[in-house]
């Protein structure tokens, strides 16, 4: 098994955090993992992205020329990555911000109004965690309890209230797709 995911959005939306926490969770679940951020000459307000590979075998290249999953938090990211996806993959998009329809019809599409959901929970910055809830609900890459432990680890010394709101955001994303399905 080899699964590659690209996370993408505006800088500041927590895109790298999504990838980092998934990679940590998958490592804790016993998989081989690589996490590769796009690096270098970035601009404020520009797009940030990262690639996570999860495998039960040795991972040759950490780059995803044909990702199985993409998680996009803004419209430019959708345009950039939707055509790279492998047929039959899954596309997760933040429908609070992305108003356009994806052009792909050979992949499963999940629209999650994650920014609005995060706002309702009281912290708009947890939109990324809402997406992770939905993402793991569908992909099952990492069991939720292992993922949440990893999330706490990578958040490090953040306040307990921050951890708590992120747990709620994760649950909201997880629940959302259960209802939608």
């Amino acid at each position: 098994m080899m699964v590659k995911t690209i996370f993408s959005g505006f800088g500041g939306q927590g895109v790298l955090m999504m990838g980092y926490s998934l990679a940590h969770g998958a490592m804790s679940a016993g998989y081989n993992v690589t996490f590769l951020p796009a690096y270098g000459a970035e601009v404020r307000g520009g797009t940030a992205n990262c690639t996570v590979a999860v495998s039960d075998d040795e991972i040759a290249s950490p780059i995803a020329s044909e990702p199985d999953y993409i998680v996009v938090l803004n419209t430019p990211s959708l345009y950039t990555f939707q055509n790279r996806m492998a047929p039959g993959g899954a596309l997760f998009l933040n429908s609070s911000i992305i108003a356009v329809e994806p052009s792909r019809h050979d992949v499963r599409i999940f629209k999650i109004p994650s920014s609005e959901m995060a706002e309702k929970l009281g912290n708009p910055r947890t939109a990324n965690t809402v997406m992770m809830g939905a993402f793991l609900k569908i992909t099952g890459l990492v069991p939720p309890d292992i993922y949440l432990r990893s999330m706490e680890t990578v958040m490090g010394s953040k306040k307990k209230s921050v951890i708590e709101i992120n747990r709620k955001a994760f649950a909201a994303g997880h629940e959302f797709l259960k209802i939608a399905e």
């Binding site: 990679a23 996490f35 290249s61």
Partner: protein, 358 residues
């Protein structure tokens, strides 16, 4: 032992600290900025730690010379154009027989180039790099785990042979996060007699690369050369991957070797028995080991993220005993394992062997 998920550049920093590195000087350049960032933080926490963001790469390497002469385990890091600037100091380290670790996170070149992963600095690294008759031990890690292990080994090798050691990786190795376990470093064994710490009541010492008498300089060159011969005999390292039953061997190092492993997996699924020879020490190059392999295998394909540099060492090792092909992607392009597998299919024929061979 604790497995942690860490970025390549930070792994180098942590491994260096654990190995006892207490002096770092450097000047920022992508894609290795996390090394000075990490060293700035960690050297503040350990006893005797000194971090200097120098005014230039040239200054940084010369600060390393001073710190090394004074007995500190010392390191500097940069990326391709910055490493070019450091060559004068690296030559001095070799001349003065001072240990130091230099990290080169290669990027696309020549010139300022770009910030993407590349392997275009192989010649510069393995041929000494600066002026004069010297070599630098060059290590080519291909994973987070090797970044950690080889960084620690680099300090030991530098001490043992009193010579600069270079870790040659690229932007992908530096930026990628992978799980890593830090081994327990060996305690440092570096004779006090080499350290400059004031003559006190003893005899004064001079460390210098300026030797004006040609006969003395010749002797110094032969002394260095004898040391390099010992290193070449004792310190070569390589990895063989699925080579036992192979009809074709790919030769690749660092990031290139990882891509090659992915290609080999695909090629074996389609019935082609392909293996990998991966030099871990780029200098000394595992010449004899590769030559031995050429006694039973007739076809080799070298893959590099350059227009072809290591391929020359492969030809020198194999000396016409086998057919050698080449595939390169210079300039910061990282090809996929699928692409490399396709290239192998195109360049290798079961009956004819490697097509377009040297």
């Amino acid at each position: 032992m604790n497995k942690v998920l860490m970025q390549g550049n930070k792994i180098i920093g942590e491994a260096a600290i654990r190995a006892g590195c207490r002096f770092y000087a450097g000047y920022p350049i992508t894609p290795q900025n996390e090394i000075p960032e990490y060293m700035a933080e960690r050297l503040r926490e350990v006893e005797g730690g000194v971090f200097i963001q120098s005014e230039s790469e040239v200054a940084a390497i010369h600060m390393v010379i001073g710190a090394s002469a004074a007995g500190a385990r010392s390191m500097t890091s940069s990326s391709s154009p910055g490493i070019s600037l450091k060559q004068e100091g690296i030559s001095s380290l070799a001349a003065c027989e001072l240990p130091a670790v230099i990290v080169n996170m290669m990027r696309g070149g020549p010139g300022l180039g770009n910030i993407s992963p590349s392997q275009g600095d192989y010649f510069q690294a393995t041929r000494g790099g600066g002026h004069g008759d010297y070599r630098v031990i060059v290590l080519g890690p291909d994973s987070a785990q090797e970044l950690a292990d080889l960084t620690m080994d680099a300090f030991d090798l530098a001490d043992r042979y009193r010579t600069p050691v270079m870790i040659l990786a690229d932007g992908m190795m530096g930026q990628m996060m992978e799980p890593v376990i830090f081994k327990t470093p060996k305690p440092r064994a570096y004779p006090e007699s080499f350290i400059m710490k004031g003559a006190g009541a003893g005899k004064s010492k001079i460390i210098r690369g300026l030797i004006l008498d040609p006969l003395d300089m010749e002797e110094h060159n032969w002394t260095l050369d004898r040391k390099y011969q010992v290193i070449a005999r004792k310190e070569t390292r390589h990895e063989l991957y699925k080579a036992d039953d192979a009809e074709l061997i790919l030769v690749a190092y660092g990031t290139g070797a990882r891509i090659a492993k992915g290609a080999i997996k695909r090629l074996r699924e389609s019935g082609l028995r392909v293996g990998l020879f991966r030099p871990i020490t780029l200098w000394p190059f595992p010449t004899n080991e590769l030559r031995d392999l050429a006694k039973k295998i007739e076809n080799f394909l070298v893959f590099e993220m350059s227009t072809g540099q290591m391929v020359e060492d492969v030809r020198l090792a194999i000396q016409g005993r086998a057919r050698i092909g080449f595939h390169g992607r210079p300039g910061g392009v990282v090809p996929t394992p699928v692409e490399l597998a396709n290239v192998v299919m195109r360049k290798y024929d079961r009956k004819e062997g490697i097509i377009d061979h040297y």
